[in-house]
Structures are given as C-alpha cells and as structure tokens.
Symmetry: C2
Subunit: 405 residues, 2 copies
C-alpha cells in the first residue's frame, strides 16, 4: 500500500503571511522545527500574489528566491513541500496585485492578459522549484474559487483558466512532482457554482478536497461531536473519488481543521483523531494536511474569529492538545501494515450542477450516506452516469448499488 502522507498548512507564527515582506529564515526554521517535531512529513506553503507579481510583467526574483529558500529549510527538517502559487485567498483576505483592481480592474479568471500573467508566474515558480528533491509539486493557488464573488465566471471559463494554468505549472515540474488546484467546498456542494466537482476530480494530478466543518453549516447542523462531523473528511474523499474518471486517482484531504466555535477546543483532539482515522478508511486517500500550524496572533486585526484558533501551536509557539492527538494518530496510522478494504457497496448520486447541494451537509444524499455509514456499510459514492458502467464499477471494486429512497 502507498504510504499515507500527513502534513500541515504552514502559517508563519510571527506576522502570519505578512512575514514574507521581511522573510526571516531563522523564524521559518523555528516554526518548521516545531512542525517536524510532530512527526509530520510535509507542509503546504503560500506566498502572496501582490508580493510575487506587483506589476503584470514583473515577477520579483527575491520573492521567488524566498520560496525556494523556505523549501530548502523544510528539507533540513525532512519535510516535503507543496507550493501554492496564486494567493489569492487566505483566511478571508483576498490578495490581488494592484494591476487587477480599481482603475485597472481585470477579471482574474477571464482577462486573457491576467491569465497569461498567472501562467507566467506558475512557469517561473515551477522552473525555480523543480530541482528541489523535497518538492511535492505546485498548486495553482489556495481555494481559487473564493475569488468568484468578485470575478464572475462561467464553468467554461473556469475550465479554460484551470487548463491553462495547470499546463503552465506542469511545464517546469519533473517526473513524480504534481500539479494541482484547489477549491473550497462550493465546488462540491454549491448549486450552479462555476467550479465543478468534475474540474476538481479530473484536472491536475491529484484531487484536493477541503472538507471544512463550517461548510454548509455541518458542525452547527449536526453538532461538533456528531457522526457526520467526524466522518466529513472521509465522506469528502469518497465523493471526490466518484467524480474521478481514473479510478486510481488519489484524493488529498488538503485542508481540514478544528475551528472554534464550530469545534470547541475541548473536542478538537478527538475531532482530529477521528478525522484522520476515518479518512484513512478510503482507498484513494493520498494524505491529510491539517490547517494549520500556528494560530494567528491576536495583535493582527480583522480575521474571522475562527482563524485565531486553528493552529496546532498557539501564537506564542506553545503546542496545543490537538497537536498531540494528531501526532499520535499519525504514528498509529503509519504503523498499519494494510490499507482499507475497497468499498463494495456504493450509494448512487443522482444530481446535476444545479442540484449538487443534495450531496452536501443537510442534503438528502449526504444524510443517506451517513445513515448507511452509521449502520456499518462503508459506502462508496457512484455517480448515476456510472451506475451502468460495469468496468467503472469493477475497477473500483463496487459490487452493490444502493439508491437514496
């Protein structure tokens, strides 16, 4: 069985991502030493778009060098690194270069020159990073679809954007390195959202999912210790597997975390443990990357309350109980000698882009899947369009199809 990967989304303890303005290798070293001390094997890192590309035709070599330097520091601690290119969106803040805003407004998804500029940035990052042996790959950017609200876009335009940028990212990368993209949960559950499940599950090398417990009010709806919350990452992984055309395609739980008050801090260790154990019941799982390494310091203003509490370490660098739970669970999962059995029973998902919310928390499909799971069934998800496709089903090991009542 392939080794599961466990890591953390790296949020610098001092100054959050604003620390890129004054990148300090010693600070990074201190943070990454803490992360490696948990027994994790990788981090995901984020630079800021306006700092990387302040003018459409100016990519700052210094900023690119900082990224490479951070990847090298990670290597000192045995950590692999996934680099997200275009941020873009981070913790409620949208970082846009000035050449896309105000008098220079451009739609970042549809303006041809804006797309070309982002492609150039990704090509540059790929070429700069690809010779690093600890590079996992290059992701287009963090939850790009958070930018949809201020950059209206159609499904076709999103597909063109993703295809163009993935090709650019791949250009620099080497065999074994991955080009990926990511979206927040609206891609999976949001009716008519222009980022589709198909784009997530079929473009790039790995499907990434960010099954946050606040999406579709999951934790508020079912409760922080509910079966649904504890199996959300597992469910998200199975849902993503259903949309893949390649049955062997891996699914990466790239972001999940324990945001207060959705998950009270006293419940966070159990939540982390259950999330990992349950996700590990999916044959397609690539790994889990926790959000995030360090709490946002409360001296920084204007974050949504939950962003101040998501760290495995607090803003003074103190390790939190959830970090211990995560580390112990990782050790336990690594010691397993066999992966999960394939899922022989599948619940058929029959929805359209306009009705995909049935598959999200509160939706009929979601609730039926959870009911079956609670009864011990371990259901896979099969799309209605594949329900009569014998080779699809047999490749996935699905022997029985169940439908929602």
């Amino acid at each position: 069985m392939p080794t599961l990967r466990f890591g953390v989304n790296y949020t610098p303890r001092r100054g959050w991502f604003h620390s890129w303005h004054d990148f300090d290798p010693e600070h990074a070293r201190e943070d990454l030493a803490q992360i490696a001390g948990l027994g994790l094997d990788h981090i995901r890192v984020f630079h800021l778009w306006p700092l990387l590309q302040p003018n459409r035709t100016l990519i700052r070599a210094t900023a690119v060098d900082q990224l490479v330097h951070l990847v090298d520091i990670a290597a000192e601690f045995g950590l692999d690194v996934m680099v997200d290119g275009v941020q873009g969106h981070l913790s409620s803040f949208d970082f846009y270069p000035e050449w896309t805003r105000s008098w220079h407004h451009r739609n970042v998804f549809t303006d041809p020159e804006a797309i070309e500029a982002q492609a150039r940035l990704l090509r540059t990052l790929g070429h700069a990073l690809a010779d690093r042996p600890n590079l996992i790959g290059l992701q287009l950017g963090n939850e790009l679809n958070n930018l949809v609200e201020h950059n209206p876009v159609t499904v076709e335009q999103v597909d063109h954007y993703l295809d163009t940028l993935l090709a650019a990212a791949e250009e620099g990368l080497r065999e074994g390195q991955s080009a990926t993209h990511s979206a927040y949960d609206a891609a999976w559950y949001g009716d008519d959202h222009p980022f589709t499940p198909e784009a997530s599950a079929r473009k790039g090398d790995i499907t990434t999912v960010h099954p946050w417990v606040f999406s579709a009010d999951c934790a508020r709806r079912y409760g922080p210790r509910s079966f649904e919350v504890l199996h959300l990452a597992e469910y998200g992984t199975e849902l993503a597997t259903a949309y893949a055309t390649d049955p062997a395609r891996p699914v990466w739980v790239q972001e999940t975390g324990a945001p207060e008050p959705h998950i009270p801090s006293s419940d966070a260790p159990d939540f982390a443990r259950a999330t990992l154990l349950n996700a590990a019941e999916c044959t397609a799982l690539w790994g889990v990357t926790w959000w995030c390494s360090h709490d946002v310091d409360r001296s920084l203003a204007d974050y949504p309350e939950l962003e101040y509490t998501l760290g495995l370490f607090d803003s003074t660098g103190r390790r939190k109980p959830i970090a211990d739970a995560l580390a112990e669970t990782v050790t336990e999962l690594r010691s397993r000698t066999a992966g999960p059995r394939p899922r022989s029973t599948a619940l058929v998902l029959d929805c359209t882009p306009a009705t995909r919310s049935v598959s999200g928390p509160g939706g009929a499909y979601f609730e039926e899947w959870m009911r079956l799971r609670r009864e011990g069934v371990r259901p896979a998800v099969v799309l209605a369009e594949h329900a009569k496709d014998g080779s699809h089903l047999s490749e996935r090991g699905v022997k029985e199809l169940v439908r929602t009542p």
Copy 2:
C-alpha cells in the same frame, strides 16, 4: 523675499515604487545624485500603503525605517524631503491594503477604524521622521481624492477625514515642519467634487496644487504651446490663493509635468521653462516640484502611455532636454534679487461648489482670466465673498476688481 524651492517627485528608476519591496540604498543614492546634479533642493517621496500597513494593526518597522533611510540618503546630497504617507494613488494605480478590500471592504474615508489606522500610520511616520533636519514635512498622501470614485464620500466626511489625519501628522512633527494634504484638480474644477477648494486652501500648513495640463483637457483644448498651458501653474497658484483665509499662506505647485502627447517632447523644455517663470510671478509661490525624476521603464506594463514619458531622466538614467531647461531656469530664478510685485487687479470669481468648473480650463472664468493675463494685466483671483472685504483686499494688495462679462 523667501527663497523659492525647486524639486522633483522622486520615481525610482529601477522598478518604480515596487522597488520598496527590495529597497536598495545604492540604487536610491544613484537616483538622488542625478537629481541633486540638476541643482534641485528637494524631493517628494512615496511609500506604498499595503507595504507600510499590511494589517490594520501592523505597521512594518522595516518599511518605516526604509523611509527614514531614504530621507538620510537625500541629506547626503543636500536634498530636503517631503514624505507622502498614504499611497493610495500613484500613476493610475490604487494601492489599498487587503484589510480595506474584497470581503473586508471598508470605505477608507469614512470607516472609523480605517481612519484611525491611517492616523496611526501618520503618527508613526511623523515620530520616526521628525528629527531629520532635512524633512520638509509630512503629507497625508498623494492625491487622496483619486480614491473617491471607489470610496464615495461627502464634503463633511472629507473634512473630518482631513482634519483627523492632519492632526495625527502634526503630532510627531517639529516647529518649521509642515503637515499638508493634496488633491488632483477635481478639487478646484470639479463640480460637486467632495474635496473642496476650501479644504485645499485652508487645511494644513501649505496649499498644494497639481495643475496638470491634461486636467479638463487643457492642453488638448488650447494646444501644447498655448498661452493657457504655459500659464496654467501660475493660474492654479492664484486660484488657490483666492480660497485661502490667510493671505500669507504659501502655495506649492507640487506636481506639474510634461506628459506626452499633451506636451510633445520637443515642446517640453519650453513648457518647463515657461511654467516655472510664470509661476514665479505669484507672490504666494512656495516652490515647484516637477513630476517626475525618472521615466517608468517600459518593461513595466499597464501604465497610461503618458506615465512612461514624464521623467527628467529616461529609464536608462539618461538626462533629457527638459532636465536641462528646468535646471537652467531654476538657476536663473534663484539669481533674482526681487520677488514679483503684488497683483493689484483681481478678477472676481463668483461660483458655487456646483459650478466651480467655470474656473477650470474651458470655463468662462478661466478664459477671461487668461484673456486679461494675455493683455498684460497679471490678475489676481478674488472670491465674490471677499469682494467687499476691504481688509482682505488690502492685505493682498488688490486695488481694482474686474468681473467676468
């Protein structure tokens, strides 16, 4: 007579203002040596708001230190410095910190926390800079009213904003240093524009004017070598003097320049010479600060065409003919032993905030003033509300009032 001041708005040759990301004292030294070589006595400098204050409660000490460092480098070359705090607007680009945009949208003029944050920034800059003997003062920011389009605001709100920020800027400054603000020409000529002539002429220590030849299509309307264009800075200075309540208040022609194609490059030297000589005919003139030191490099995209041609030096550092004309005229003006005679004849300006465009290029008042000036009258501007105020008129030396037909 007080010595007239002549300087230049400093636009770093390498990387424009994006060079703050990677501030290089040697590059600055090279640029300022060129500027000092023209015999100029001061520069105006601009940092970028998102780099100074990336979070509402985080002012980067490194960025503040860079500004102080630049002021010290200017001192090496005998240059005094005016520092603009909140940019804000520069050459068509609007630089906003992320905590004012997108999901965090705040109106920068009216949101109380956004105002307080800007005040804190100005206090911090004032305290950091005030002990520098070559500091002219602190200006709130470059042409703040360019932000009105995306931050709707009333006259009363602008006044509150300016008063609050000027008080903050003054807090750190010392005797003899000035706190000022600036606006583009809509403040003077724009009907119902919320930045008023009164705010420009009565708030802060010096009235600043930016009489650009493209405002109200002045150069297109009258021609690049027209009397109107060559006397625009003089006119703007007299217009500003009219709105002052203190007859001794100085007026600073803080930005003027020779933008192609409004002023063809072959006409630029004569334009510069005439602009300085004619502005020097105003008793209130504090000085003239040319826009700008260095052309924007054409490797940087998306600037309006005219921004690439405004430098006294081109983007390779070559001195342009306009620089020689400016330097020679400055030398000539400095050698004068007497200032201009007061203007004994004034043309009465009778307009309201909603009709102030009469005083702009194309307006009846503007054209009558130019007609008189062409006839050799050297008219002052007196507001209708002052026309019967004997002490106002006598303090200004005005003996005869003329009215538009």
